[in-house]
């Protein structure tokens, strides 16, 4: 693991990605301790102040300190999407390895269902499910986890088919090994690299999806500081108070770029070619 980390940080993109990701995670964890103001504190005397020594990133339309809100703004998004990424990666990987290993009609039939899901406009389905089930993490985590797990399944299944054709899997089958030992001992260890990279990638995409949901009013709800919600609420101010929109945008995009760079560097350190590994 340490060797992997050393290889990752030896590349500039890996070092930048790791730094950005860790910085955001630590900011989210420590936000209550380091934020200079209560992120929900409204003040009629400080409405839309430009960045200054007191308010580093300025204030919003309700006089709240944007720096404090940006620090807190990633907490919900990171927590919810990380949990959803674990769900998506877990079930998507398991199903992908299973179908890639067993092949045959079960695999063919299942892939047509997967094709159907992949052809759906996900965001609309997300909105539909969330509008029925409510906008809380209890709905969003399994919903994101399911839809993004479909894509994970497709990628891992493709990789699993290549592994399943290799000699050591054929030998295991010849030895009379049952399916579960083959999946857990032969397949999974040889696919864990791809699963790790795939999970990281899906996490970054989920962050964007969650922020989109917040922007549309289906993710975080006021007064929760959340980057997507902050952009939605202040988007009319681009011309007059751009700082109210710029900082949450910067925070969101820097985290997504960071995770992408990190995933890319991990993939390269593990000898994976993401361009060919990513089927979708």
């Amino acid at each position: 693991m340490l060797n992997l980390l050393a290889t990752v940080v030896s590349r500039p993109s890996g070092a930048i990605g790791l730094t950005l990701t860790l910085a955001h995670v630590f900011m989210a964890l420590l936000a209550p301790l380091i934020a200079p103001f209560d992120p929900t504190m409204q003040n009629a005397d400080t409405i839309l102040l430009a960045p200054s020594a007191e308010h580093w990133m300025g204030t919003d339309t309700l006089g709240r300190d944007i720096f404090s809100r940006v620090l807190h703004g990633g907490r919900l998004a990171i927590a919810v999407t990380f949990a959803a990424a674990v769900v998506a990666t877990t079930w998507g990987s398991f199903a992908g390895i299973f179908f890639g290993t067993v092949g045959g009609r079960i695999d063919e039939f299942s892939m047509r269902i997967v094709d159907a899901f992949l052809s759906m406009p996900w965001l609309l389905f997300l909105l539909l499910i969330i509008s029925i089930g409510g906008a809380g993490p209890a709905t969003i985590i399994p919903t994101l986890g399911f839809f993004y797990g479909v894509a994970v399944l497709r990628v891992i299944r493709g990789a699993a088919m290549q592994v399943a054709a290799r000699d050591f899997v054929t030998a295991a089958k010849a030895r009379g090994e049952k399916l579960w030992p083959i999946l857990s001992r032969e397949m999974f260890p040889n696919l864990s690299d791809i699963i790790l990279v795939e999970g990281a990638m899906r996490w970054s995409w989920m962050l964007l999806a969650f922020s989109s949901l917040s922007f549309l009013g289906f993710g975080a709800t006021p007064p929760t500081p959340d980057w997507g919600l902050m952009v939605a609420q202040e988007r009319g101010l681009l011309a007059t108070a751009p700082w109210a929109v710029f900082w949450p945008c910067l925070a969101l995009s820097s985290l997504i770029i960071g995770i992408n760079l990190l995933a890319d560097a991990i993939g390269k350190a593990l000898g994976l070619d993401r361009a060919s590994a990513m089927a979708v």
């Binding site: 009629a44 339309t61 309700l62 289906f218 709800t221 006021p222 007064p223 009319g236 007059t240």
Partner: protein, 498 residues
């Protein structure tokens, strides 16, 4: 080559002139495409009916009744019979003459049980309408009403052509045939509805050749459309949107004190809001001045104590509603919520500042132990899907005279009784106020009703707003008056010759 250049130039000039004569106004698609051209329909298409139909009486510059299709009116000493003398020579868009028969038809249909118009509760005071002659209509009331012309000044009490509507008092009439300055070309509520100048308009030639009413549900999108020159006029600007246009010579900004409000509604029949102590505790937890400054900016509002009668109205009551957190906590404890109360509030970007107001109320109510969880709903379709369907929700009303708003929103039988306020004493008070011929006594009676709303009502109305509108500097003729009083027929657009 020279000929084709001349032809191109002529075509370009012609298209420029045509474009300049089209006034483009956005509408908020509040009924999700179900907008109706019947002015008394619950889904009335406000921007269209405002220009296609006329009223008997309209607001003057001072807000009081002034002639429109009725040139004059007088009442018997007991104010139970009102006679309206009509404007002669007026025709509908289809060429039919406007007569007292149309007045009788248009007023009596407001009482239809089938149509169930939001105007029904207010207009039920009419017993019958007698056609004295073609140009004279006598309205006989069930009870005295000293200010009856204020009721027919309502923006929905338009005069329809009885013949076109088949003289059917119980059917919606969506023909669009009125006597207004613009007539219907094409209805497309989800897209662009087109009107064109009615050359036979009794008030003179309308200012532009065409009007386009363009569906844009989102307020930020409407602002962007004005900036991009896709529309000519927008209303209900928020405080932070004003700087986008304020110092730009291409736009004009008007800020007008009005009785317009955005507020929150508690349904008085659904728990926990069926307990008056809970309702008052929520209202008492608000710091109205701070709320107004946060949401509408300094000078953009006048505080009010949950009574809908605005400060410019002759019947406005002066009440005190200072924030009282301890009082709110005590009321909650009495109501059985000593450990705090959690409620859901449905909001949407329906009117200027609605979501922000909910956020500020949420923050202020916290101090009294009230947790308000905001649920954001889409703006398009809000009025059909959320408003008056949830227990606690956002609302927005334009300015109305005291008698009208008190009857329209709080009489137990009113269709838009959004708080489900059901008080026989209040209804009796409304009747008593209408029947009182002495102004001071009438004012005192209206004052008592407003005080009752502050004490026990289900409305949270923290402020009355300045209505702020922005429009292209190419437009002229838009007077700084409240929204219902804008005379679109007087609006001209630079480049047109009308």
């Amino acid at each position: 080559m020279k000929k084709s250049l001349l032809l191109s130039a002529a075509i370009a000039l012609a298209s420029t002139a045509a474009s300049a004569e089209t006034l483009r106004i956005p509408h908020e698609l509040g009924y999700g495409g179900s907008e109706s051209l019947d002015p008394i329909s619950p889904q009335r298409f406000y921007e269209a009916i405002q220009n296609m139909y006329s009223r008997l009486v309209r607001q003057g510059d001072d807000g009081r009744p002034s002639p429109d299709l009725a040139l004059s009116w007088d009442a018997t000493p007991d104010a139970k019979e009102w006679t309206f003398k009509l404007r002669p020579g007026v025709t509908f868009h289809n060429g039919n003459a406007f007569t007292a028969q149309d007045v009788a038809f248009s007023l009596m249909r407001t009482q239809s049980e089938t149509i169930d118009s939001p105007t029904k509760g207010v207009m039920e005071i009419i017993d019958r309408v007698e056609v004295v002659d073609d140009m004279t209509a006598k309205v006989v009331l069930k009870q005295t009403h000293a200010d009856f012309p204020l009721l027919v000044m309502d923006y929905r009490i338009k005069m329809l052509d009885a013949e076109t509507c088949g003289n059917d008092l119980d059917a919606l009439c969506e023909s669009g045939v009125g006597t207004g300055p613009y007539k219907l070309v094409e209805l497309d509520a989800l897209g662009t509805t087109t009107l064109e100048r009615f050359d036979g308009y009794y008030g003179g030639t309308p200012g532009v050749q065409n009007m386009e009413l363009i569906a844009i549900a989102d307020q930020n999108a409407r602002v962007a459309a004005l900036q991009a020159g896709q529309v000519d006029f927008i209303y209900a600007l928020s405080a932070e949107q004003v700087p986008l246009f304020a110092n730009n010579p291409n736009f004009t900004v008007q800020s007008v004190p009005t009785g317009r409000w955005v507020g929150m509604v508690m349904n008085t029949t659904i728990a926990p809001f069926d307990d008056a102590r809970v309702r008052k505790a929520i209202r008492m937890s608000a710091d109205r001045d701070a709320l107004g400054k946060l949401v509408y900016g300094q000078g953009g509002f006048i505080t009010t104590c949950d009574h809908p009668v605005w400060s410019g109205d002759q019947y406005r009551a002066d009440l005190n509603c200072d924030r009282d957190i301890e009082g709110a906590k005590a009321l909650l404890a009495e109501a059985g919520y000593a450990d705090g109360l959690t409620v859901e509030l449905f909001v949407s970007d329906i009117s200027e500042g609605a979501v922000k107001m909910a956020e500020v109320l949420q923050n202020q109510a916290k101090d009294a132990g009230i947790t308000i969880e905001l649920v954001q709903a889409p703006a398009d379709g809000y009025w059909g899907d959320v408003w008056m369907k949830e227990a606690f929700f956002a609302t927005g009303w334009s300015q109305r005279p005291a008698d009208q708003i008190l009857n329209e929103a709080y009489r137990s039988t009113a269709a838009w009784n959004e708080t489900a306020w059901n008080s026989a004493d209040f209804d009796a008070g409304l009747d008593a106020a209408r029947g009182e011929l002495d102004f001071d006594k009438r004012k005192a009676l209206y004052g008592e009703l407003q005080k009752e709303l502050w004490e026990n009502g289900g409305s949270f109305i923290p402020v009355h707003l300045n209505t702020v509108r922005a429009f292209s500097s190419k437009l002229s003729g838009i007077e700084p008056v409240e929204d219902f009083s804008i005379r679109y027929e007087n609006v001209t657009k630079a480049g047109n010759e009308g």
